[in-house]
């Protein structure tokens, strides 16, 4: 066998293992580790796999609830009951660092990874979402802007490549652009699958003596130590970290998906686990640890792509499209038949043992032998020091700005503008179930096999989180729930993706803790347990940490097709109502950011009682068949919400709005404040009085704003009047990203 390097302090440090951690390793083994074992510990104890810096925080999330069938952390993804014996498994995963190095493949393999997490649970993946953050793509043709565009274009193409090919529709998401993500984009991908309760698959190596099968793509030198790589700051040299680049093969994964679901249906599977970060290492020790057993594998039997791979390389490889399957003894032939049918590599590589060991052999010789449970579960846990950031710079009085120019400017800002340039590249209709296409508050999907209608959204206003992490996180949950309510859905559960900077910096860790506590509190308030998620730390570029971004993915259910509601006005002559108050909070608003160029002020406050009343009200109005359109106020406030309702339908519809009753708030406050708990609905003229009375009766202050129709969006307030041609607003909003991206140079 090849000569392995000696274990020196330098080598230990190079593996990101501290002296204390090394001590711990030695006491677990009762000896010094060899090179392969050191590598195994380094990936299993990396932040990415062990959550050593975030675990104590994650324990704060509510994870139980009436509908929870599989809890967060128990398995690869949580599972939630949706009735009639059907369930859903969903989760969000980040691929930020790989995407910074190679946007196309980084994003593509991220999609592949989250899809494996879902079908590992025995669920058939039915749709995806994606939540993206990049540096600015507009403005001068500077090198930075050009690079941001390259990353944005590459990531979108990569998601499209993988999702379209495998045939899982990408039906929604979000994209924001801000300086803080320059060089360190955020790529969070979400996938949801459906299954019968009895089909839930487990990731345990149960049944001593059961054979262990390796199925899927051959192992190559891909993404060596990617998990460790994701647990470091992005530095200039880590960008030279070429081996970390993995290439995805959506075609192989499609075959793997179908083969695994077929195999699971056959009943031959005792346990199944995808090979994600830390590939073989993670899957062997975690399956053993979950079942309280041991697993022994022979690397000679592992299908390989390249000759002369060392045990170290094989165990740490992150080649994609691979699974580990524990088969009930005697059923091996079923596995062979199915994987031959699908032309996929497979091999019996090991066996389940009773000694609690993860034992890695090469033919006769043992090259690694580690107590599986200690390796998987006994990673050190750190309580990092937290120190609050200084309070945000107060707004002071804002200079005057002409609303006539401000609204189109806001609509054209890439964070608010239509994302059609993005979702046009995604097959968002395959599986023939997308009832509400991208472009409304939440996507709505009919799951035919279960005859259930689901709504899904991903949300996070990181600008709020930067100014007040706790309130910002609460609002992320509230906005997600509000988006679902506007589409006619009742929220079921949440998955989250925590994107933060280096946790060793007390300010960053404080942001993490504040956001987690905010998310946890809000999820309790809205009765949406957290079914799982992902933590991505070390999101730093030379410029510093990214804005704290606790992305929330929320799924809800719609009880009748008649309740499906979208944000666009449906015709002329409808009455427009505002559920909620006019508000006035400007802190952290996109108006202040885009028009006045400042990220400043205290972001809006969230009042749970008020928020829940508004969401309940819109849901009940929808159930009564009164609502023609519903759209919540988010970035850009009331004026942007009204404009979006005018221009996001098949053809643009104008509106005549009178805000005189709200007295003489300054223009900016009146039109663009981002106070929470506000929803704009349109109802048939004759139903306006009833809708208003009903909402008021539910304790929601409700106001008549005006009527739909005409070629203009015209907003009056006393003497003030602002008319915009809806065709102009549409052009500004619809074309802005495409123009920025297709612009050469």
């Amino acid at each position: 066998m090849t000569q392995e390097p000696a274990i020196t302090p330098e080598l230990i440090a190079k593996h990101g293992i501290t002296p204390e951690e090394y001590e711990r390793i030695c006491s677990i083994l009762g000896r010094d580790p060899n090179f392969t074992e050191l590598g195994i510990f380094s990936v299993m104890w990396s932040e990415h796999c062990s959550y050593k810096n975030s675990k104590p925080e994650l324990r704060k999330f509510p994870t139980t609830g009436p509908g929870v069938l599989v809890k967060a952390g128990e398995e690869n993804a949580g599972v939630i009951d949706i009735g009639d014996g059907w369930a859903i498994a969903f989760k969000m995963e980040s691929h930020n660092h790989p995407s910074a190095i190679e946007p196309f493949q980084g994003a593509a393999t991220g999609v592949g990874g989250i899809i494996r997490d879902i079908f590992t649970m025995g669920a058939r993946p039915v749709f995806s979402l994606n939540s993206l953050r990049f540096g600015p793509i507009t403005g001068n043709g500077s090198a930075a802007v050009a690079n941001n565009r390259r990353l944005f274009a590459g990531v979108v193409e990569g998601i499209a490549h993988y999702g379209n090919c495998i045939g899982i529709p990408t039906i929604g998401g979000e994209v924001y652009f801000d300086e803080s993500y320059e060089g360190n984009p955020l790529v969070n991908v979400f996938c949801l699958g459906v299954l019968r309760h009895e089909e839930i698959a487990r990731g345990g190596a149960v049944g001593v003596g059961n054979p262990v099968f390796y199925v899927g793509a051959e192992t190559g030198r891909d993404g060596l130590a990617g998990a460790a790589f994701a647990s470091r700051d992005l530095t200039e040299e880590s960008k030279q970290d070429r081996p970390a680049v993995q290439v995805g093969d959506p075609f192989r994964e499609k075959l793997l998906l179908e083969a695994c679901l077929e195999l699971l249906a056959s009943g031959a599977v005792a346990g199944i686990q995808d090979m994600g970060a830390a590939g073989l290492t993670c899957s062997t020790c975690e399956t053993a640890s979950r079942a309280g057993t041991g697993v022994e594998i022979d690397l000679n039997k592992v299908p390989k792509r390249e000759p002369d791979m060392t045990p170290y390389e094989i165990m740490l490889s992150e080649s994609q499209e691979r699974m580990l399957i524990i088969v009930t003894r005697g059923r091996e032939q079923i596995v062979r038949d199915i994987f031959e049918k699908w032309d996929l590599p497979y091999a019996e590589v090991g066996v389940v043992k009773d000694d609690g060991m993860m034992r890695v052999c090469v033919g006769g010789d043992v090259v690694a032998q580690i107590p599986a449970h200690k390796l998987a579960e006994d990673a050190p846990i750190y309580h990092r020091e937290a120190s609050a950031r200084p309070a945000p710079e107060p707004l002071g009085t804002l200079p005057e700005a002409d609303p006539l120019a401000a609204l189109p400017a806001l609509l054209a800002h890439p964070s608010i503008a239509s994302k059609n340039w993005v979702y046009r590249q995604y097959d968002h209709m395959v599986r023939a179930g997308t009832c509400v296409l991208p472009g409304s508050d939440a996507a709505v999907f009919l799951v035919r096999e279960a005859d259930k209608i689901l709504a899904a959204t991903s949300d996070c206003n990181a600008l709020y989180c930067a100014l007040d992490p706790r309130e910002g996180a609460k609002i992320a949950v509230a906005e997600a729930a509000r988006n679902l309510a506007c589409s006619g859905a009742r929220p079921l559960a949440v998955t989250d993706n925590l994107n933060f900077g280096n946790p060793y910096k007390p300010e960053n860790f404080w942001q993490l803790r504040e956001c987690v506590e905010g998310l946890a509190e809000a999820c309790r308030e809205f009765g949406t347990p957290v079914t799982g998620g992902n933590v991505s730390l070390y999101n730093q570029s030379p410029a510093g940490a990214v804005d704290p971004t606790p992305t929330v993915g929320m799924v809800g259910i719609i009880h009748s097709p008649a309740h499906i509601t979208t944000q666009a006005f449906k015709g002329a002559g409808d009455a427009i109502l505002l559920l909620g108050d006019i508000g006035g909070e400007m802190g952290g608003s996109h108006y202040v950011k885009v028009i006045h160029g400042r990220k400043a002020g205290t972001p809006p406050r969230l009042d749970y009682a008020k928020e829940k009343r508004v969401q309940e009200a819109v849901r009940s109005l929808i159930r009564m068949g009164l609502v023609r359109s519903a759209h919540d106020c988010s970035e850009g406030g009331l004026a942007v919400a009204l404009a979006e309702s005018c221009i996001s339908g098949a053809e643009a519809i104008g509106a005549e709005i009178d805000l005189t009753r709200f007295g003489n708030l300054p223009d900016g406050e009146l039109l663009f404040n981002e106070s929470q708990s506000r929803i704009v609905i349109s109802v048939r003229r004759e139903n306006a009085a009833a809708a208003l009375a009903l909402a008021e009766w539910q304790g929601v202050p409700t106001h008549r704003l005006g009527f739909t129709g005409g070629k203009h969006l015209r907003i009056k307030s006393g003497e003030r009047e602002w008319p915009w041609l809806v065709s102009d607003l549409h052009a500004a909003w619809w074309n802005s990203i495409g123009e920025a991206m297709e612009a050469n140079g």
């Binding site: 190095i101 190679e102 196309f104 493949q105 793509a217 190559g220 030198r221 891909d222 070429r242 081996p243 680049v245 993995q246 290439v247 995805g248 093969d249 075609f251 192989r252 792509r305 390249e306 080649s319 032309d343």
Partner: protein, 76 residues
Amino acid sequence: MKAKVTVMPKKSVLDPQGVAVRDAMRHHGLPDVRAVRIGKVMEIELEHGDEARLHEICRDLLSNPVIEDYELQVER
């Protein structure tokens, strides 16, 4: 001037397309195909064009150095 740029996936990097084509060829009466790698060729016609600039463009635009290698041949 004519230039020919050949862009191939790096040896260490997976080439899914090559694998699929290899298997197809094996089913196609060439069972003894060992490996297939697939890349791009670009035939470029220029008025005059400077070679140094061409190399830059090969690196920055025509190939992705992270996963591909390129080769530039010019004939005047």
